[in-house]
């Protein structure tokens, strides 16, 4: 009797999850692809090879690359500091890292405008050096960095915590310097977690809309990222083009997922259980 119950329970759970994934993820993806190609290949190609689409793609890649680079450096430093040293305000730092998960991206964008915009006290200083932050590429990068800020640190902290400090202490006793310890002892443990977090960070950075939308100013060909470009095309009644550009983002997401699965698979084969 119990066994039968379990069987039904199991089936119900699987059915619910499958139906949910189908309805919420697969169907919209198929609709995007269908709409993108609905007016033929020529129109699709014209939309994705359009000058403004290419410039938007370039900006998205630039912002993503910068965000991943900065957040990797920051995430490694923070994870190292939090797990290897004890200092005042450590709990606070750990909490602060999570702020971007809790704060709405729109608020983040507005904060950057208030901090670096024309009405901010900082503005005249920046302006005297000719530096433009918001409504320019640096603002887009800042906004992207903000929303993807926790990914690397959050992924690496548990791994380092689980490992403990024994091996590093041993290496230090044997006279190894900081960089040697990092390169030969710490890094091999965290590399899969790091790679995994970089992948997540990339995916999130490419799709960011809210914060970037606020600081962008929507200057076509200059501060328009791919997600913003999709919105513009949609509002201009260019539905096919909007879906064609969306399909680029969807394709990037699928590629990222495949890479993630390969990373997971390889990591597991190497017996590294830290990658989830």
């Amino acid at each position: 009797m119990r066994k039968a119950e379990n069987k039904w329970g199991r089936r119900a759970l699987i059915a619910i999850s499958m139906a949910f994934v189908l309805l919420m993820l697969i169907t919209p993806l198929l609709v995007v692809l269908f709409e993108a190609f609905s007016s033929g290949l020529a129109l699709y190609w014209r939309a994705v090879s359009d000058k403004y689409t290419l410039l938007a793609a370039k900006l998205t890649l630039t912002a993503t690359f910068a965000a991943v680079l900065l957040n990797t450096a920051f995430g490694l430093a923070a994870a190292w500091a939090i797990t290897r040293f004890s200092f005042r305000g450590k709990g606070l730092l750990t909490t602060f890292i999570d702020i971007p998960f809790a704060v709405s991206p729109v608020i983040a964008g507005l904060v950057f405008i208030l901090t670096f915009g024309r009405l901010s006290p900082l503005h005249s200083f920046l302006d005297s050096y000719g530096l433009k932050i918001v409504f320019a590429t640096p603002g887009i990068i800042l906004a992207t960095v903000f929303v993807t800020f926790p990914f690397v640190a959050r992924e690496i902290i548990p791994v380092l915590e689980a490992r403990g400090t024994d091996e590093e202490q041993a290496a230090a006793l044997m006279g190894a310097g900081f960089f040697t310890i990092f390169r030969r002892v710490t890094f091999p443990h965290i590399r899969w977690a790091l790679l995994y977090s970089v992948i997540l960070c990339t995916a999130r950075a490419m799709g960011e809309f809210g914060a970037v939308s606020v600081v962008s100013g929507h200057l076509r060909g200059k501060t328009n990222t791919l997600p913003l470009h999709v919105e513009i095309l949609y509002n201009e009644y260019q539905f096919t083009a909007a879906f064609a550009v969306s399909s680029l983002l969807a394709a990037a997401a699928v590629i990222i997922l495949i890479v993630r699965n390969i990373v997971e698979f390889t990591a597991r084969k190497e017996g590294d259980g830290n990658v989830r």
Binding site: I113, F116, G117, R118, L119, H123, Y129, G130, L131, K132, V134, F135, G217, H218, L219, R220, G221, K222, I232, N235, E236, Y237
Partner: protein, 339 residues
């Protein structure tokens, strides 16, 4: 040792690059930024191409125009916060006045270019279903029982304020300034509203895509766009009296002087008044301000409609109108909560 050297060089390079790139190129400004509002996308897409050609012919110089579109007030806000527009081409004078108050545009900007600095105008029309089955001809018809009206909310939408004021202007004339009768009419009109969307595009979609209502109160250019999207399903009724909307343009002095783009910006806005610029406006369903060019489009626009402006003594300008009608506990709140 060698490593730290490299690091130093890299660091100084990083510091120098933005510094050297910071010097503004005074020599020749070849880029112009136009921050505009939502429904002008198609208009400026065509106009920019024409202007770039004209400028090349005249000066031999290649220029690019960077375009930005969004809600008019939102765009003004972005310029105030530092979105460096050389020119703004917005929906309402009050949005440009907001930029003036922020110190970026000099007072008196509305006298810089002809026709209150409005190269093109628009008005409010009725979009009805094919054949006009309910026989809607004038503002009075909209308040009759059983008519479904679609308009955005005047509290949130600029276009909706024009709708409301156009109806008000008609009623004021119809009932000989009898305020009680005017209020009664406006209450009945808004009693007939089925869906009160927050923005003009939202209302268009409610009427066009979702098939709600018998009549949509809309910008003339937005109504023509809907017809172009779905030919044969709708027609436009221009009431005998409506309101004149003057979307103005201005040079953002603070930016133009800093970038040295004033000459180019002036040329850009002036060319909107040229025959070619006026024709492009007409083709995009904005009424050309030059009467001669407007006449060329008399098949599209009903040029006989009597148009009242916001500066008419009835309204007394935007500041006054905004306070009396649309602010909290203003006239609109009263009639809409009474219902």
């Amino acid at each position: 040792m060698k490593f730290s050297h490299l690091g130093l060089i890299a660091l100084s390079a990083l510091l120098l690059v933005p510094a050297s790139g910071a010097l503004p190129a005074r020599a020749a400004v070849t880029e112009l930024t136009n921050v505009s509002y939502d429904p002008t996308r198609e208009l400026y897409d065509q106009y920019n191409k024409a202007f770039v050609q004209y400028y090349k012919k005249k000066t031999g110089q290649d220029i690019t125009v960077v375009q930005s579109h969004g809600g008019s007030s939102k765009q003004a806000r972005a310029v105030i916060e530092g979105n460096e527009a050389d020119v703004v081409t917005l929906a309402l004078a009050s949005d440009i006045t907001a930029i003036e108050h922020a110190g970026l545009i000099k007072a008196g900007w509305q006298k810089t270019f002809p026709n209150n600095s409005s190269p093109y105008t628009s008005t409010i029309v009725f979009l009805v279903r094919k054949g006009n089955p309910k026989g809607l001809k004038d503002w009075g018809d909209l308040a009759k029982p059983g008519i479904g009206v679609i308009t955005p909310n005047p509290k949130t939408s600029g276009g909706a304020r024009w709708n409301y004021l156009a109806a008000w202007a008609w009623a004021d004339k119809q009932y000989n300034k009898d305020e009680k009768a005017v209020l009664d009419y406006i209450s009945k009109l808004f009693g007939n509203v089925l869906v009160l969307d927050t923005g003009a595009r939202g209302s268009t979609n409610t009427f066009v895509k979702n098939g709600q209502g018998d009549v949509l109160l809309a910008w003339e250019n937005e109504a023509y766009l809907a017809i172009a999207e779905r030919p044969g399903e709708f027609e436009i009724v221009t009431p005998p009296l409506s309101i004149l909307a003057e979307p103005p343009v201005a040079i953002v002095d603070g930016v133009a002087d800093k970038r040295g783009s004033r000459a180019l910006a002036t040329e850009y806005l002036n060319y909107l008044y040229s025959d070619e610029g006026q024709r492009i406006a007409g083709k995009n369903f904005y009424r050309p301000s030059n009467p001669k060019i407007a006449e060329e489009f008399s098949k599209i626009f009903d040029l006989k409609v009597k148009l009242i402006t916001i500066d008419d003594p009835l309204f007394g300008g935007w500041d006054k109108t905004q306070k009396a009608h649309f602010e909290d506990r203003g006239i609109f709140d009263k009639i809409y909560t009474k219902k």
